[in-house]
């Protein structure tokens, strides 16, 4: 029994070898052109990028905590995002109303 447990444990431990994903977050900057539910569209130089926001996205404005509900079309945003399931998914959204 002890031997069986050892085999299983060794197999489990081998699976747990850590690895770190490479690469940096995407930086999506621009002006909010559309907000549809949890998808924010950001436009910069005529190019639109859709970013998904989630419950774990952090929000900041002017060095203080922000809220998703405060984000408006026309706001300037800097979004740090990662591609997840083929969609840009926001880790952090920093925004300023009307570019100020």
């Amino acid at each position: 029994m002890k031997r069986i447990l050892m085999v299983v444990l060794v197999a489990v431990m081998m699976m747990a070898i850590p690895a770190v994903a490479h690469g940096n977050m995407d930086h999506v900057l621009g002006t909010v052109s559309k907000i549809a539910g949890n998808v924010v569209t950001v436009e910069k130089d005529g190019v639109a990028t859709e970013v998904v926001v989630t419950a774990t996205t952090s929000w900041e404005t002017g060095g203080k905590p922000g809220k998703q509900s405060e984000l408006k079309v026309g706001d300037r945003v800097v979004i740090h995002a990662m591609k997840m399931g083929g969609k840009e998914t926001a880790h952090e959204v920093r925004y300023a109303h009307g570019g100020k």
């Binding site: 489990v12 747990a16 850590p18 994903a21 930086h27 900057l29 774990t56 952090s58 800097v78 570019g99």
Partner: protein, 188 residues
């Protein structure tokens, strides 16, 4: 032996890529092994100091500097490193972590978790006060305020390049610059 072989086979079939999340069997066995590895006396350990507010503030800054890279300021593990680790850092706010005893949490911070991304910090022994203060902070994580989180961002490690990037982003947000900040990652 056949059962053990079958279990190992199921686990190995998942491959070794960090992108594949562990299956239920692997996660359950690893969780069991981790719990079973903690001696009773470790579980029963109590902090030798009281959780004073000043200790909590110290630990918050310490955590933001040393732990948040993988665990996130809010303990969610939703960071670039955290998402890439396998096994993934647990959400420290949830029951799976919060129901561990103070002694267990102390032991994990102090000794790390072998074959995971969690290193051992501090000197061996049970009297590292900095680690005990971190245990207090872990207990506080489920009640962390948004103000505390923003404060922690100032204590997160930042390279000169990241600082420059942050300043450029601020200028963009304030309408002082129309060009996107030059960032390490792709700028869209």
């Amino acid at each position: 032996m056949v059962c053990a072989g079958a279990a190992a086979g199921v686990i190995v079939a998942g491959g070794f890529s960090a992108r594949n999340r562990p299956g239920k069997l692997e996660a359950r066995l690893a969780g069991w092994a981790l719990r079973a590895s903690v001696p009773q006396e470790q579980r029963a350990l109590k902090a030798p100091i009281a959780p004073l507010p000043e200790y909590l503030a110290e630990a918050r800054e310490h955590y933001a500097d040393h732990c948040a890279g993988c665990h996130g300021n809010n303990g969610s593990g939703e960071t670039m490193l955290g998402r890439g680790l396998n096994p993934a850092p647990p959400d420290l706010r949830l029951d799976a972590t919060q129901r561990k005893t103070d002694g267990e949490l102390y032991g994990i911070i102090q000794n790390g978790v072998r074959l995971s991304g969690m290193p051992g910090f501090g000197n061996p022994g049970n009297g590292d006060l900095e680690t005990w203060k971190l245990v207090f902070f872990l207990r506080h994580l489920p009640a962390l305020t948004a103000e505390e989180e923003v404060e922690m961002e100032n204590a997160n490690p930042i390279t000169p390049a990241e600082l420059k990037e942050r300043q450029a982003e601020d200028a963009f947000l304030n309408g002082e610059a129309d060009q996107p900040a030059k960032a390490k990652g792709k700028v869209r």
